[in-house]
Symmetry: C2
Subunit: 141 residues, 2 copies
Amino acid sequence: MKISAQSYYGLKAVTFLAKESRVFSVKEIADGERIPYDYLEKIMQKLTRAGLVTSKRGSAGGYSLKRPSSKITAKDILTALDEAILPILCVMSNKSRSYCIMEKTCLSKNVWQRMQKAINYSLNSITLADLVYVNPKKSKR
Amino acid sequence: MKISAQSYYGLKAVTFLAKESRVFSVKEIADGERIPYDYLEKIMQKLTRAGLVTSKRGSAGGYSLKRPSSKITAKDILTALDEAILPILCVMSNKSRSYCIMEKTCLSKNVWQRMQKAINYSLNSITLADLVYVNPKKSKR
DNA sequence: ATTAAATCGGACTTAATAAATCCGATTTTT
DNA sequence: AAAAATCGGATTTATTAAGTCCGATTTAAT
């Protein structure tokens, strides 16, 4: 199993935005979070299309969160970028890839389903606000 | 995110073994679960080295579970095959890949950690016995 | 008006690695 | 001795993610 760089970068970018509610250019984010500029550009566009951030074009343009950080979950970000959190043939809704013939009798499928549920539950419960307004005992920087 | 074919096949193979406690050849498993023979051979060897199945060489040889199916978890299988359930740089114990410089201040790291926990908890709670002796009424969810 | 600084979209290239295959050696049963 | 297995290492192939590039468009500031 593996988390894509897109999710990894994307979540970083979006928490960066969540720290201050203003417009940030891709350059600012890329520098701040050390993400390859061109790649991040693509990621931000994806997030825009998914309705999670808004873009402002032209000079002095950039990106900002579309909703308050408390209304955006980690799950929102990851599904926007990776489209399937757990792309296992028999669990996926999108059956684009080779379809499992044994689906009906497959015992191990239960594992993927339960795992899927656990992941969804976990990710749905984390908002960007949770990440940014972190427990102050830990650090105040 | 993605589950490797190895985990996918491996779990299938091992649930296959769990259904009957005798020795199965790779050929039997491969045919039964429709897994590429040569590839499955490798997977079984990995599981053997991990101490989850035992192999018997020579004619009439094959593989069987090393422990009772109630003592082997889905987590056991997946970690044996994929070595890291969630290979995210900042969460991985093995820092072989490019190391995250911002580890200390990284906010999004919390997501990966929580997710990791949720996955581990889920997978640890599923034994092969659970999968094989499935509740006939399917009321247990 | 012109220029500079952005996003946008699509095409392309590169790199990584998973997936699959192949082969010869060894072990064990019949 | 032959047949049926596992074993282990090397190799090949395929997939796709990751990253790059370029030209078009939009917008703000000078």
